[in-house]
């Protein structure tokens, strides 16, 4: 199999003296802070992207396809022109794409945890949630990338946000923050469910109704009453409303505060649930 590498490696296998010399009994360094440990795990996520760049496909190609598809599919029928529809759709399709991408956090964790490396992480004397927080921090970079991609495609197609650069940045920032919080649902499922496939299945089951039964594609005013009721309580509706208003430049602070509060609640519920499962695994 790897006879040649094995041969050279064996030739350079050192003596007991060299080995003994690296076994230090020096004073151990102080354990890193919670933040430092999380950032180190975040660095691991960056390294994984560096070595497996194909995994960026779903944060670039997928959002582009989503944007093009829905703009040209619904634009003419719903708003008279694709350009007019885009002004309404873009913030929503950005939220939909990024929130859908959060499910890979759960899938990634599920495959990762099956490997021995998590055994090592879990026997390290560091802040316990650091491995997971770092992993999600790495995913945050993917969310930023996806949101940026969609914004660029939108601008090319004719999206003209009245909120300007600041409004767009605030919108993306709020969306990324919400997605970070939302990811903790998937870390819980990633630890709880047995296989990658079942994590995928559950994520789809939750994400499809959540993103489609919202105000992303059409004005909820046209829907039957019972559906309007669901759309109104759907958190995605609030995120879309907040991002839309930020990008449009009319600061709807109520929706923004709602999203911030929802994010905090998500982390407070699913963070501890995830950690409970992580410690028991």
């Amino acid at each position: 199999m790897t006879a040649t590498t094995e041969a050279t490696a064996a030739a350079s296998m050192p003596s007991a003296e060299t080995l003994g010399a690296v076994l230090t009994r020096e004073e151990r360094p102080r354990r890193p802070s919670a933040l430092a440990a999380s950032l180190t795990f975040g660095w691991r996520a960056m390294l994984k992207i560096k070595h497996v760049p194909e995994q960026l496909f779903d944060v670039t190609a997928f959002p582009i396809i989503m944007t093009l598809m829905f703009t040209y599919l619904f634009g003419g029928a719903l708003a008279g022109s694709t350009r007019d529809y885009l002004q309404f759709l873009l913030p929503g399709i950005m939220v939909t794409s990024v929130v859908m991408i959060t499910m890979y956090t759960g899938v990634g964790l599920n495959t990762d945890i099956e490997k021995g490396v998590f055994d090592r992480f879990r026997t390290l004397p560091v802040w316990r949630p650091a491995a997971l927080v770092g992993m999600i921090l790495g995913d945050v970079l993917r969310y930023v990338l996806a949101a940026t991609t969609i914004m660029l495609v939108g601008l090319i197609l004719g999206f003209r946000p009245a909120g300007g650069v600041l409004g767009v940045l605030a919108g993306i920032g709020l969306l990324v923050l919400f997605s970070f919080a939302f990811s903790w649902i998937w870390t819980m499922f990633g630890l709880f469910l047995r296989s990658e496939k079942s994590v995928m299945g559950v994520s789809m089951l939750v994400l499809f109704p959540l993103t489609f039964l919202s105000n992303v594609f059409v004005d909820p005013g046209t829907m039957p009453g019972w559906l309007q009721a669901f759309v109104k309580v759907n958190p995605i509706t609030h995120v879309v409303a907040a991002v839309r208003s930020l990008m449009a430049g009319d600061r709807n602070t109520t929706e923004t505060i709602w999203v911030l509060a929802a994010s905090a609640v998500l982390v407070l519920i699913f963070g501890p649930l995830t950690m409970r499962l992580y410690n028991r695994k």
Binding site: M1, T2, T5, E6, T8, A9, A10, S12, M13, P14, A16, T18, L19, G20, A21, V22, L23, T24, R25, R28, P29, R30, R31, P32, A36, A37, T40, F41, W43, R44, L47, K48, H51, V52, K115, G116, V117, D119, R120, F121, R122, T123, L124, P125, V126, A130, R280
Partner: protein
């Protein structure tokens, strides 16, 4: 340091209705290699995972250097390292990246982490492979990077879960050499293995585990004395002479002789406790006795008893067919 490196009392772990670990008592003195010997599914890995704070015991208690593995898990973690049955490093990352990552998590600064990683890669003969992803490493190299990762901070207690399973003989020898050096520098090692030979070479004491219980415990010497230090395998030219050969071997070796399905084959333990002669001397006497009686022997060998034979001797039954966990 007066507390034992490991001390367990009635340790139990149940998965659904399977008692994977069923009341294990162990005492491991510091500075030694302790072997947990048993077949697949015996509960060795489960014991290690509980001691390494990865699994919560369902019953009994376990202390590492006097610290409870549940209540003082963090203190235990600061003193142990684990090299699992499967590579406990990130296969997507390079050798250097893995060691730097772990060194940083142990609190080393950027510079110190890089230096330490380079130093360990050098010491483990992996400098050339440093920039390669671990998934491209051979089995032996993987084991070495794994052990290197475990001694970034020299641990007081190192768990090695089947460190040589699946390795070629040369890589296995390298791992043995590393273990010897690590112990010589004061680290206690808990080693699980399926090979009696390995436990015999490395461990000061061995516990034989079966169905989650310790069925024998002692030094390799005392264990072998009770089960016989060697096994004699004989193949006769003429199957008709087998009953005569069985009688002769039983008389010379003082043990039961097993006949195999093959009509010309015989197996017997040699060097059993109570006989004043070593296994080799007994075996040569047995061979002479066969020749004297005019029984033609085609093949004759004296080997270490295998785990199968240890089990047969200790439990009077072969290794159970067990689905690996």
């Amino acid at each position: 340091m007066s507390a034992p490196a490991i001390e367990t009392n009635g340790l139990v772990k149940t998965f659904k209705d399977n008692r994977a670990v069923d009341g294990v008592d162990l005492t491991v003195p510091p500075g030694t290699v302790y072997g947990l010997l048993g077949p697949n599914g015996a509960g060795k890995t489960t014991v290690v995972r509980m001691l390494a704070t990865l699994l919560r015991p369902d019953g009994g208690e376990a202390r590492v250097f006097g610290h409870d593995v549940v209540r003082e898990a963090d203190t235990v973690r600061s003193r142990v390292s684990l090299t699992g049955q499967y590579a406990s490093v990130d296969e997507d990352l390079t050798g250097t990246e893995n060691l730097v990552l772990l060194a940083r998590l142990l609190g080393h600064g950027k510079r110190a982490a890089r230096d330490r990683a380079a130093q360990l890669l050098e010491a483990f003969g992996l400098t050339e492979a440093a920039a390669r992803q671990v998934k491209k490493y051979s089995g032996g190299m993987r084991r070495r990077i794994d052990i290197a990762a475990s001694i970034l901070n020299t641990p007081d207690l190192l768990f090695l879960d089947e460190p040589t399973t699946g390795l070629d003989p040369r890589s296995r020898n390298q791992v043995w050499d590393i273990i010897r050096v690590v112990v010589a520098h004061g680290t206690t090692v808990l080693l699980t293995t399926q090979y009696l030979d390995e436990a015999d070479r490395l461990a000061g004491r061995i516990a034989v585990i079966d169905h989650g219980r310790v069925i024998a415990e002692g030094t390799p010497g005392s264990l072998k004395a009770s089960i016989g230090s060697g096994t004699v395998h004989v193949r006769l030219r003429d199957g008709a002479q087998r009953p005569e050969a069985v009688r002769l071997l039983a008389a010379v070796l003082g043990t039961d002789v097993q006949t195999e399905a093959d009509p010309v084959a015989l197996t017997a333990r040699a060097g059993v406790e109570g006989s004043d002669r070593g296994a080799a001397e007994q075996a040569s006497r047995a061979l002479a006795a066969l020749a004297e009686a005019g029984i033609v022997v085609d093949d004759f060998s004296l080997g270490q008893p295998s785990l199968d034979e240890v089990f047969l001797a200790l439990t009077d039954r072969p290794i159970p067919e067990e689905v690996p966990a």
